[in-house]
Symmetry: C2
Subunit: 119 residues, 2 copies
DNA sequence: AGAATTTGTAAGACATCGCTAACGTATGTT
DNA sequence: AACATACGTTAGCGATGTCTTACAAATTCT
């Protein structure tokens, strides 16, 4: 067979692909502060608003954001649950990486403690 | 300015980009079992060995693998430290995601406990 | 109704990615 | 020396990604 093209990449909605682009990570960083419209979201970036819109489509497909339309404004909200997939994958390397990951465990414990203290 | 092309993506060696491709993740999964030569590494994949070699170059640039040449064989070893960058980034969303991440915290505690038990 | 606002979509330019085939290089074998 | 093995590199291709400009659709305002 001279050329059975496979191109086994990027199943639509893949979370790893979604977070691979720095702009999309920054979008998620911003959304962590609270829901925002596209215009608010696009403000600090140097690319055009349609470009942001396209990034948001990719984030939508990955399930990392949700949209809620109110009038003519579209509010985007973060949905971090699917980041779990990345988290779990990385945690498989914990055995090879005890020190760093123990640090992170402590870090998470600390965050949780703070949360409990506040609540 | 009519068209100052920026293309602000993929600084060489970016870890997020390195793990975005499923083949590269599978390579890391295999290397977690122990060091391997390129041929051993390429065996289960349906793509050619040079393609694997190119993926390995990207993993090398990201610092996620190291190479040790012994004779004509090149042994690749996993270097998971830089995964920490991803881990830390994701952990910033913990506050929005308490349940899942608590589960992961438990998971890590369990892994660590097993490790300690093994001695 | 008509104009302004907010957003998504389409088309096209351009760069980059991922792959194969072919070749080059270094090491080992006979 | 000649050949075999293990690997990297290059050239070239088709596919995909990212961006801009232009436009369409929905909502709000006057």
């Amino acid at each position: 067979m001279p050329s059975t093209r496979k191109t086994t990449n990027n199943a639509a909605g893949d979370v790893f692909t979604a977070v691979a682009h720095p702009v999309r990570r920054q979008i998620l960083d911003r959304l962590a502060l609270g829901e925002m419209t596209v215009s608010m979201l696009a403000e600090p970036f140097e690319i055009t608003r349609p470009a942001i819109s396209q990034h948001l489509s990719i984030l939508l497909e990955s399930g990392l954001v949700a949209i809620e339309k109110r009038g003519r404004e579209h509010y985007y909200q973060i949905r971090p649950d699917n980041l779990n997939e990345i988290y779990r994958w990385i945690s498989h390397f914990e055995r090879l990486w005890p020190e760093k990951l123990d640090d992170l465990g402590d870090y998470l414990d600390k965050l949780k403690a703070e949360e409990d203290a506040e609540g």
